[in-house]
């Protein structure tokens, strides 16, 4: 098992390490977009954040967080297998995440929407996927190179072709969701009533898992398999804490996602630490902020109600 790895999680290239944040924001932004790799990273980050903002919102609504995490872990053996066979990493991600979605979708829980009972099955599946990934890495260590960039992503290696492929994938996923939007929302909010009204709940839930697999595969390329949740769950969960309207929630989730991705990338550019760390930290701070706002609102609403009871009603009402 004594593999030697040379570099670790996404070090910034030499020319960028001299950069430091000044007071002139316009100049700083100008400096960031001067580098082609940064433009690609920002574009890919935005595309992925939009897609995972929408898909993540639905995933949180459906309570499939653990399934989403397991699918994201599938990306690790996917990227290892792709590196091994020499095909582009994106195909490895998509193949393994898609296969994972189909496998999880076969569980009875996925069809009935009762994840809590089957979480052990999902957990076993996840551990097995990681074990296979590690097997690939340790058997073909020399070919695969860096374990940490397989697990935590390598933002700076994103090519033009990859940005285009991500864009195409995002358009496909989003138009599919737009097509299925209403029945899917119905089935997610109340599966029983939806089934009674003739909505094909089981088929929808398999399709959604596949979509989730694709979104996770795309997000993995930015954050690495282990940090997918930073873009998939945190913006969506924050949006759901702040608004209960589906349209506004989806919009907010997308906006927050792009903000997290860009802020994380920007911070990483101006420091010597990897982007995954900043994206995860910004996402966590955002969620903590959203929880605080939601708690404040709740306590104010309660106080408002209490005051409304104590105060005498406006005169017009009685008269």
């Amino acid at each position: 098992m004594a593999r030697t790895t040379t570099t670790t999680a996404t070090p910034m290239p030499a020319e960028a390490s001299g950069a430091h944040l000044g007071w002139n924001l316009a100049r700083d932004v100008g400096e960031v977009v001067e580098y082609h790799f940064m433009v690609n990273a920002l574009l890919a980050g935005a595309v992925v954040a939009v897609m995972s903002g929408v898909v993540g919102w639905l995933m949180v609504l459906r309570g499939e967080t653990f399934a989403g995490h397991t699918l994201s872990v599938m990306a690790f053996p996917g990227s290892a297998a792709a590196a091994l066979t020499g095909i582009p990493a994106a195909w490895g991600y998509i193949a393994f995440c898609g296969a994972g979605a189909l496998a999880i979708g076969r569980l009875p829980a996925a069809r009935r929407g009762t994840w809590a009972q089957e979480s052990a099955a999902v957990g076993v599946f996840q551990a097995l996927a990681l074990a296979i990934g590690f097997l690939l890495v340790s058997v073909y260590g020399g070919v695969l190179g860096d374990l940490d960039s397989l697990l935590f992503g390598d933002l700076l290696g994103i090519s033009d072709a990859q940005v285009l492929a991500l864009g195409g994938l995002a358009i496909g996923v989003l138009s599919l969701l737009a097509l299925l939007g209403r029945p899917l929302l119905f089935a997610s909010v109340d599966a029983d009533v939806a089934a009674a009204r003739g909505v094909p709940v089981e088929r929808l839930s398999l399709v959604f898992l596949l979509v989730l697999g694709l979104a996770v595969a795309a997000t993995s390329q930015i954050t690495g398999p282990l940090l997918v949740f930073a873009l998939l769950v945190a913006p969506a969960a924050s949006a759901q804490l702040l608004t209960s309207s589906p349209a506004r929630g989806l919009g907010l989730s997308v906006v927050l996602g792009v903000a997290v991705a860009w802020l994380g990338l920007g911070l990483s550019y101006f420091s010597s630490y990897p982007a995954g760390f900043f994206i995860a930290t910004v996402a966590f701070a955002l969620y903590a902020l959203a929880r605080t706002i939601a708690a404040l609102r709740r306590s104010r609403a309660v106080r408002g109600r209490v005051e409304g009871v104590l105060e005498p009603p406006p005169r017009g009402v009685i008269a």
Binding site: M1, P11, G63, A120, V124, L226, L227, A280
Partner: protein, 277 residues
């Protein structure tokens, strides 16, 4: 096989770590806390790396991270996780979300420590992180193996000690609360205990793979037996069998990492029981 000292150490530590994983895992599956176990196992990675950066014993970092993580999950979860079948409780998916975001942040911290560590100790960082993520059971020294075995045994004893009230509190939390069982304290205590188990298991199997040994034998036992006593015993036995078979396989095929072999055997046992039942 037993003539090698590293193999004897691995078997000694592995047996008791597996026993602890199986016994604790049975309750994890019963309480529907597999995702919490997953989060705890991920928390071990930054713990180990933070300790490596600070230059203290990695085991202390592991233990601190996982026990803090366990207590944190228990407190944030507000006991809602303790209820079985999250659908009825309604709160479980929200808890999963909060846990998921928190552990992503903590894993992100792990990446941060990794890059700090790689600037301070060139070259060693890759191996350190591979060990933290995927374990190094064949690299245990005799003293480390004895300590891991002792901690594993103590965790089993502690779990069995609180088994009766924990079972009551897991199956019927409201009723247990009404009968004066301290369900909240038990929930926190159990996750702290799970943190200890995760810390020893992380050394052997790694932060990413220990979930396999926690979930697979226990889930298989739940499928095979409805009786709690038989279930706990079966989960422990299946975990130990997975560990032995995995270690033997890894010994026979040197390119097969031991943690992969152990998790693969455990998963196969689980799929076997699914197929049977």
């Amino acid at each position: 096989m037993l003539s090698h000292e590293f193999m004897r150490n691995a078997l000694l530590a592995g047996t008791f770590v597996a026993l602890a994983c199986g016994v604790c895992g049975w309750f994890v599956v019963l309480r529907g806390q597999v995702f919490a176990g997953d989060a705890l196992s991920h928390v071990a990675f930054p713990g180990a790396l933070a300790a490596a950066v600070a230059g203290i014993d990695v085991r202390i970092g592991l233990l601190l991270a996982t026990v803090t993580g366990g207590v944190g999950i228990a407190l944030v979860g507000r006991g809602a996780l303790a209820r079985r079948g999250g659908r009825g409780a309604g709160a479980a998916p929200a808890d999963d979300t909060a846990i998921g975001i928190a552990f992503t942040f903590i894993l992100g911290l792990g990446v941060f420590f990794l890059s700090r560590y790689s600037t301070s100790a060139q070259g060693a960082s890759g191996i350190e992180s591979a060990h933290a993520l995927f374990g190094s059971i064949f690299g245990l020294a005799a003293g480390e193996a004895r300590l891991a075995a002792l901690v594993g045994l103590a965790a089993v004893a502690a779990t069995l000690l609180i088994a009766r009230p924990l079972l009551f509190a897991s199956v019927a939390p409201e009723l247990a609360g009404a009968r004066g069982v301290p369900t909240r304290l038990l929930g926190v205590g159990f996750l702290a205990l799970l943190g200890v188990v995760a810390a020893v298991a992380a050394q052997a199997l790694g932060a990413l793979l220990l979930l396999g040994l926690l979930a697979a034998p226990a889930a298989a036992a739940h499928r095979l037996s409805r009786s709690p006593a038989a279930g706990v015993a079966l989960a422990g036995a299946l975990a130990v069998v997975s560990m032995w078979a995995g270690l033997a396989l890894a010994y026979a095929a040197p390119s097969l990492p031991p943690s992969t072999a152990v998790v693969a055997v455990a998963a196969m046992l689980y799929y076997g029981t699914r197929w049977l039942a």
